[in-house]
Amino acid sequence: MTQTGSTAAAPPSAEGGAAPPARRAAARDPRKTWRSRRYRWDAKFSPYAFISPFFLFFVAFGLFPLLYTAWASLHRVELTAPTDMEWAGLHNYSRLLEDDFFWNSLWVTFVLAVISTVPQLLMALGLAHLLNYKMRASAFFRVAMLAPYATSVAAATLVFAMLYGRDYGIINWVLGQFGVGEIDWQAGDWTSRIAVASIVIWRWTGYNTLIYLAAMQAVPQDLYESASLDGASRWQQFLHVTIPSLRPTILFTVVVSTIGSVQLFGEPLLFDETKGATGGADHQFQTLGLYMYEQGWRNLHLGRAAAIAWVMFLILVVIGVINALIARRLRKS
C-alpha cells in the first residue's frame, strides 16, 4: 500500500519542480500573468459551470421540494389553505406509529415488493441465460423483451384491470374452462396483490433481462471454456460461472427494483375500479404511495402526507445503506 502510494505521488512532485521558473517568468510580464491566471480560472471553474445545469435543476426540483416537504411535515397544513401552517412538531410522525392504516400500507408495500421482485428477477435471469445462446432472430427477441417496458403504466394497468374483471374478465373465463369458480380478484387480499404484482412483473421483467444479458456478454468466454474442459455441465456453468460473475449486476437490479416497489403507485391506483386511493375496500392493496396520496389529495392533509413521504424517503435511505454494505462485502470477497 505505501509502496504504490509513493510511486504514484512521484510524477506531480517532478512537475512541481518545474513550476517555479514559469512563475518567475510570468511575474515579469503583467499581460502574461493575466492570461495565465485566466487559463487557470478557466481550468478550475469551467467544469463547475458545465455541470451546474444539473445541480441547479436538482436544487430547484429535487432538493428544495425535499426540504420543503420536511418543513411541511412538521406542521398542520391543509390543501384548502397551504400557506397557513400551524406548528405541530413531530406529531405527524408520532401519530404514524399508532396509525393502523400506515402499518397496513407498509406491510402491503413489503408484500408487493417481495412477490413482484423475486419472481421477476428469477425469470429475468433465466430468460437472459436463454437469450445469451446463439440463436436465430435474437435481435427480435431482445426487442420484444423490452416492449412491455415501453408501454405506459396507465395503459397496461387499465388493460390488466379488465383482464382481471370479476364478471366479464378474460382470466376468470379461462379459469372457468378448467372448472375454477369465479374469482373476485379485486376484493381478495391475496388475489388483488397477486394481480397488482403481475402487472409489475409483466412490465419490468424484460428490462431486467436485458441488463442481465449485457452483463452475461461481458463474462470472459475462457471461463466457460475452462469450465467445460473440467467437465462442467451447462447448468453447472450457469451456477458456478455466470451467477458469480453477475453478482454486482444482480445487486444493482435488486436495489433498483426495491426502490421501484417502495414507490409503487400507478398500478394499485388504477387497478381499483373507481381509481380511488384506498387500494380496495379493505385497503388490501394500498401501498405507502397510495396512502400518502389519499392523505394529501383525498383527505387534504398535506402535513400528514409530507410526513409519510419522508418516512418513505428514509426507508429508501436505509435500503441504500444496506446496499452499500453488501456491495463492499462483495468487493472484498
Partner: protein
Amino acid sequence: MRSYRTTRRAVGLLAAAALGTGLLSACASDDDDGGSKADSGDGGGGKTTITMGLFGTFGFKEAGLYDEYEKLNPDITIKETVIERNENYYPQLLNHLTSDSGLADVQAIEVANIAEIVDTQADKFMDLSEVKGVSEEDYLPWKWQMGSTSDGKLVGLDSDIGPMAVCYRKDHFEAAGLPTERDEVSKLWEGDWQKYLDVGRDFQKKAPDGVAWADAAGGVYNAAVSSNETRYYDEDGEVIYNESPGVQESWEIASTAAEEKLTGNLQQFTKGWDQAMSNGDFATVSCPPWMLGYIADKGGEKAMGKWDVAQAPVPGNWGGSFFGVPEAAENKEEAAEFVAWLFAPEQQAKLFAERGSFPSTPSAYEMDSVKSATNEYFGDAPIGEIFATAAEGTPVQIIGPKDQVIAENIANGLRLVEQGKEDADGAWDSTADAVDNALDR
C-alpha cells in the same frame, strides 16, 4: 482565413438571433392563447373566450346552450375542459384556487364540496348575487343558501338539483310476479326504505337467475341517507355521523341488503356497473334525473323500453352543482354574465329537456317543457311530473365540509359487507376508523 472566421461568427450570431426571436414569439403567442382576448385581426373589436372548468357530464354544449349564447353575444366564445371524476377534479381546483393560477373563468363545484368551498375559499370567488340578471327569488331557497356565506355573499350559483326516484326493470318485475305499472310500484314501498328491502326479499325468491334486486349497497345507502335532513353534521357544524339516526338506519338497510345478497356487489360508475346495466343484471337503481341519460347510454338498444321510473320510498337529493367565478379569472365580468344567463329558469328548463338535469328554479317547473316532459327510453314516463313530486318531498339537508370524504368511506365500508369480508358491525367499526383517520379526529 480571417474572413471565413467572421462569416462563421456572423452566421452563428444570426442563428442565435433567429432562435431567440423564435422563442420570444412562441412565448408571445402562448400569451395570446392564455390571455384569451385573442384579437380577431380586422380591428372589429376583440373576441372574449370564456373558459369553463367542469367535471363529469353537464351537457351544456350538447344541449346547444353555448351556441345559443354565442349567437346572442357575437363577441364571445365559450370553451370547456372536463375532468371525468369529481374526486380528481376537486383537489386540482383547490390547488389552482390557493395558487391563483390555472383557473378557468367559470368553475363547477359539486354539492358535496360546496360547504368546504364556502367555508375556506369564499374570498377567492366573486359575489354572484350582485350580478345583473341573478335574482334570489328565482332559486330554491335552500339551494341558494348552500352556495352563500353567512353574510350573504353568493359564492356559487346553483345549476340543478338531483331529486331521486327509483328506476326499475319492468321485465324483471314481471318475471318475479311484481306489478309493473309505475304507480303501483311506487305504492309497493311508499314511505319507508324498509319496505323497499321487503319487496326486494320477495323479488329475490322468484327472480330470474343472476339478477339482483339492487345494483349496489352503496347506491341503496346513498338514496336512503339522502332522504334525511341530518346526515354527517348537526346544525352547529359538529361531525355526528356515528350517532346520526339517518346514517344508522340507512347503514342498517344497506348492509342488510348486502348481507342477504340483494345487491349486485357492484360499484357505481365503474366498468362492471356499466356492463351489468347493459346485461340487465339488476332490477332497481336509485336514480336522480341526471342518471337517466347514463342508463339509456349504457343500456342501449337492448334495454330500450324495459326500464321505467317510480317514486322512491322517501325521496332524497343526490347531486346538483354550483358554479363560481374565481376572482383570479381572466374574464370574470363576462363569465359572471354568462353564468347568470346559463342558470336562469329558461335555460335550466332547456337543459332538463335536453339532458335531464333537474332545474333548481321553481318557476321552471311550471314551464311546459318541464311539466309535460316524458322520457321515451323509460316507457314514456312523465319524468317532469315524477321528479317535481320528488323534489317537493326532498328534505333540506344539512351539509358540511367533509361530506364527500365521510360518504366515500361509508360506501367503502358497505363494500366490505358485500364482498363478505366482514359482517355489518365489523364493517361499521372499520368504517368509523377510516372516517376518523380521514377527518383527523
